[in-house]
Symmetry: C2
Subunit: 464 residues, 2 copies
């Protein structure tokens, strides 16, 4: 088998086995087009260049091209070169069935997303340019598993200032989003002998699944107006909490319960994971600092850029107590799922330059305005519906008027091309609750928000 | 506990519990400086702005600032505002001991790195700008676990054209580097019941560790001048091979052995993982295409941008046979270690615009030149040393002259501030070999290459 690199224009892999070179070239190219290796529209190298690369006569290439144009595999137009034709029906390549697309939705009021249209593209690019221009070349090599020092330092300063976290750069581990962070933590806890973790009875099923995948038994803790209940802790090795703003009910974990969870951890050696997913978005004057400051030796603080910037950045961070650090870094090293250096340096620059603070302040005003409009609309249009939870974050919980059922309301909304979810979507198995909707007001782009609210009102006011 | 957001200038988290507001503010700020939550040099909000945010009198803030300036915690200079002082000795924050830096090395001839100084920063930024300007907003949301369609499509076209891979976009999974890809594969194989995987007797210890971590038993396959030996396959469920260019010995896997491995896989249901880590860098005319084309239903093809661009990008890709696809995607979803959307779109743009081909061609010429210089230098200066392996990739294997030992040569090199590794570094436990050096000629920046070669020659020619 003699094969060759063609290095003119594009890299083209051609098999020239056999003695008759023109036929071999024709066969190689035909086979490449037939099997889809060369896709329709691909520009082939000029015959002179390909001939040079292959070490054969130019005429041989020109004749092979001509033959394949005649057969319809290639097209040649004066001045635009020889290309793979778009006509021939290619055999469908083998592969998995592509996921079925979700049903048509024009208005999305599901929770968990920020407004992606407000992502500061220009400012992110500027920070990326700065990072690219200033980073040393060796930053592009293999990084430490806990992340770049520049980002860990920027985060330590920011978290101390904005969230009251007791952080230093050496205690921070950069992760590819909170769910990834949770997997690393679950694996680390399991390796240290943990068996069971408590989670709030309402939360993301994904989080429960990820913890189960690491080998932990997941136990639901009841949630009320004071947040998660510290009950049955004797049988647990860790708990996952959303103290600042329970997701999705909106409760704040009361000071008394914070102290109870912290006391349990101190006494039992247990670990509290504080998921501070939207701690930056509080719309009244009263914001509780991170619970981590109460018990920095027992609380793992977790923050993310998924709500403040965008989930697609895949950037989150843990502040890890010393006693857990080597296990968490060990998890990261074992899986080798570090995030890209340039992204880390871009976020560090974004924070250090003040762009992150400015973007959060802009977003906070916009989301506060959206929440106010939502609450006012519901109060005016939906008698009997009650909004629960703090003025914070990107979602509210709406208790449905008497006689309405979650599944019916969700189905009626879907008929109006509106996506919204019932509280049942977030409930752990066996959890009972009165019918309620989780309404994410961050998701729609600004131009769609008014219509989304109108369709929500219409859905909620139509006859049950 | 009453706490407050300060939204002027910076986000500042202040605890105003208690009845005497000025004292509470002083205490909060003092505590924040003492504990390191506010770091030296941080600019505090102007007193008027902070007072407005806190809903207290401006004088109260001014007096608190004045008190803390008097105590030395803050500094105030006319025109530059009030800042956290750099003087006070802060208590050392608790945290893990930072990793001990490697010994001083000025010249690095270890394998596994490309020349990081040649990373095309400007072109990467241009591709990033294009991606940022053209991506739809919803691209910034949560992506599918196998990666963005734009990148998978670009890779399918590129891999078919340049490496002869039988690929289509639906068969591709984007990963955060090859080691991450290997972990995902190992986990997927283990979940399908695999117990043992064969690896080449020479290779990265990291790869063996990652496979062991997934629960697989790792068995070494002997390596000779025809690559890995297909021996003892009956007891294996999978093998990890570097067919194009055995790492680090430089052998190419012979056509006969490719067929033997493929036949074993077809008969036994086994899986071949083809690590095509440097398939783009072949310096002679004869390049074998990817082994995957021989047996696309049994071979997982793995490629990476770590050698062609930089490891810090954390971008690699798998072409996965249909029968393994759901298990591999399931691994990725379970750990949720997807790579950033913007990086994926940037690489797609980098490939589609022809920048990737051009960069590879430039790099190929540069590395070929480096290899030629290395081989010529060794031939001239190191009698008895024999270079093994194909003219390809970023490293050569040098059999040491009779009487020289790897560890001595490595130590002598280190005394010259030169890093180089013996073949033993890459040998699986129990593998025996004659003394040899693995010389990575991609690593030094261009200006350091001449000196690196001179120091290598001097090391090798000094008295044993």
């Amino acid at each position: 088998m003699v094969e060759t690199w063609a290095i003119s224009g594009v890299d083209l892999h051609v098999d020239l086995s056999g003695t008759r070179v023109r036929e071999a070239l024709e066969r190689s190219l035909r086979d490449a087009v037939q099997t889809g290796r060369l896709t329709p529209g691909t520009l082939l190298p000029p015959s002179r260049a390909l001939a040079g690369d292959l070490g054969i006569a130019r005429n041989t290439v020109a004749e092979a091209y001509g033959q394949l144009v005649g057969e319809g595999w290639l097209t040649a137009r004066q001045g635009s070169g020889t290309r793979v034709a778009t006509q021939p029906a290619l055999p469908a390549p083998a592969g998995p069935v592509t996921a079925v697309p979700a049903p048509a939705i024009r208005y999305d009021l599901r929770a968990g997303y920020p407004d992606l249209t407000s992502f500061p593209r220009g400012e992110w690019l500027a920070a990326c340019r700065s990072a690219l221009n200033t980073m040393p070349a060796d930053a592009l090599g293999y990084d430490q598993p806990h992340g770049r020092a520049e980002l860990r330092t920027a985060l330590a300063t920011y978290l101390a200032r904005a969230r009251g976290v007791r952080a230093n750069a050496d205690a921070i581990v950069v992760c590819a989003g909170f769910t990834h962070a949770l997997w690393l933590l679950g694996r680390a806890l399991r390796h240290r002998g943990a068996r069971a973790i408590g989670v709030e009875a309402y939360g993301h099923q994904r989080h429960r699944d990820v913890l189960t995948d690491t080998g932990l038994r997941v136990v639901a803790l009841p949630v009320d107006a004071d947040g998660a209940t510290p009950a049955g802790l004797d049988n647990l090795d860790a708990v996952l909490l959303t103290p600042a703003h329970q997701f999705p009910t909106g409760a704040v974990l009361s000071a008394r319960r914070r102290i109870e969870f912290a006391a349990w951890a101190a006494k039992s050696g247990g670990v509290v994971i504080e998921d501070d997913y939207d701690g930056e978005f509080r719309y009244d004057r009263r914001a509780l600092g991170a619970m981590q400051a109460l018990a920095p030796n027992d609380v793992v603080y977790a923050g993310t850029a998924s709500k403040t910037l965008a989930p697609g950045l895949r950037l989150a961070w843990l502040v890890v107590p010393t006693r857990l650090m080597s296990a968490v870094v060990g998890s990261q090293a074992a899986v080798d799922s570090r995030t890209a250096v340039l992204d880390q340096l871009t976020l560090a620059e974004f924070i250090d330059s003040g762009r992150y603070d400015r973007h959060i302040r802009r977003s906070r005003l916009a989301y506060r305005h959206r929440r106010d409009r939502l609450v006012a609309t519901l109060a005016r249009r939906v008698p009997g519906g009650t909004v629960r939870g703090l003025p914070a974050g990107l979602q509210v919980l709406l208790d449905l008027p008497a006689g309405r059922h979650e599944t019916d309301v969700v189905a009626h909304a879907a008929a109006r091309e509106l996506a919204v979810e019932g509280l049942a979507t977030y409930a752990a198995d066996g959890t009972e609750h009165t019918p309620a909707l989780v309404i994410g007001y961050g998701t729609p782009p600004p131009h769609a928000y008014t219509t989304a609210l109108a369709r929500l009102s219409a859905t909620l006011t139509e006859a049950p």
